[in-house]
Subunit: 121 residues, 2 copies
Amino acid sequence: MVQYMTTRLDTSFAALSDATRRGVLEQLGRADASITVLAETFHMTLTGMKKHVGVLEQSGLVTTKKIGRVRTCQLGPRRLEDETAWLERYRRRWDERFDELDKVVEELTRKEKSNERKNRK
Amino acid sequence: MVQYMTTRLDTSFAALSDATRRGVLEQLGRADASITVLAETFHMTLTGMKKHVGVLEQSGLVTTKKIGRVRTCQLGPRRLEDETAWLERYRRRWDERFDELDKVVEELTRKEKSNERKNRK
DNA sequence: CATATACTGAACCATATGGTTCAGTATTTA
DNA sequence: TAAATACTGAACCATATGGTTCAGTATATG
């Protein structure tokens, strides 16, 4: 089940690694849109946009529904919670890590000062 | 400068989209490590690991220093702040969007009930 | 000095990605 | 019913990705 999580993070981070797809998500945050509208907005062929939407759909970030000849895209069920959690955990670790380093530096500085004192004698 | 931001999000999300690289980041969160150690941990050739480290270095998530024949890797200067910010902004949007939908549904429900009342007459 | 260690770079490979065109199908609309 | 619209799928293309092997170089170590 770690494997499962891992795979999902892979696909969602990959989905987010493209500027067009992030743009689509932002746009859908404002209003639902058809493939045609999205394709025009991002200066791309319908087929190209369809692929991006496919990727977003795969990762659960977008859902689509075809009514008549129009496929309408809207934000999907995933709220990127696991991704946010991963990033936050990482940042916590990062802070801890650098606090540690700070302490080491501090320690060294302290020793240096004490050496200075010794040298002054 | 939006372009600049965009490119950076591209590369950092791409860096995070690989399980091995996320693993390396977690490991480096615990302790600095050489390429050899990382390669062993993730069952990969030195060359393969070197590439992953290269990607992480490109994205500013890792820095390395070669002392003698050993290259030591440690967490880099970037704290993934922009990435976290993007995700959080997205989630806010997502919440707003679904609140809106909720209101629409509520509105419909209200109308339905009022119709029921009318029909009962 | 000889050998082992740690990395590096080039070359290769299979597959994925981000895009296109072209030739459809299905649905409006005039 | 004819023409326009909206999408879809296959095929193609260039480049990127994640890995390998192999042949080095540079640095310890015995």
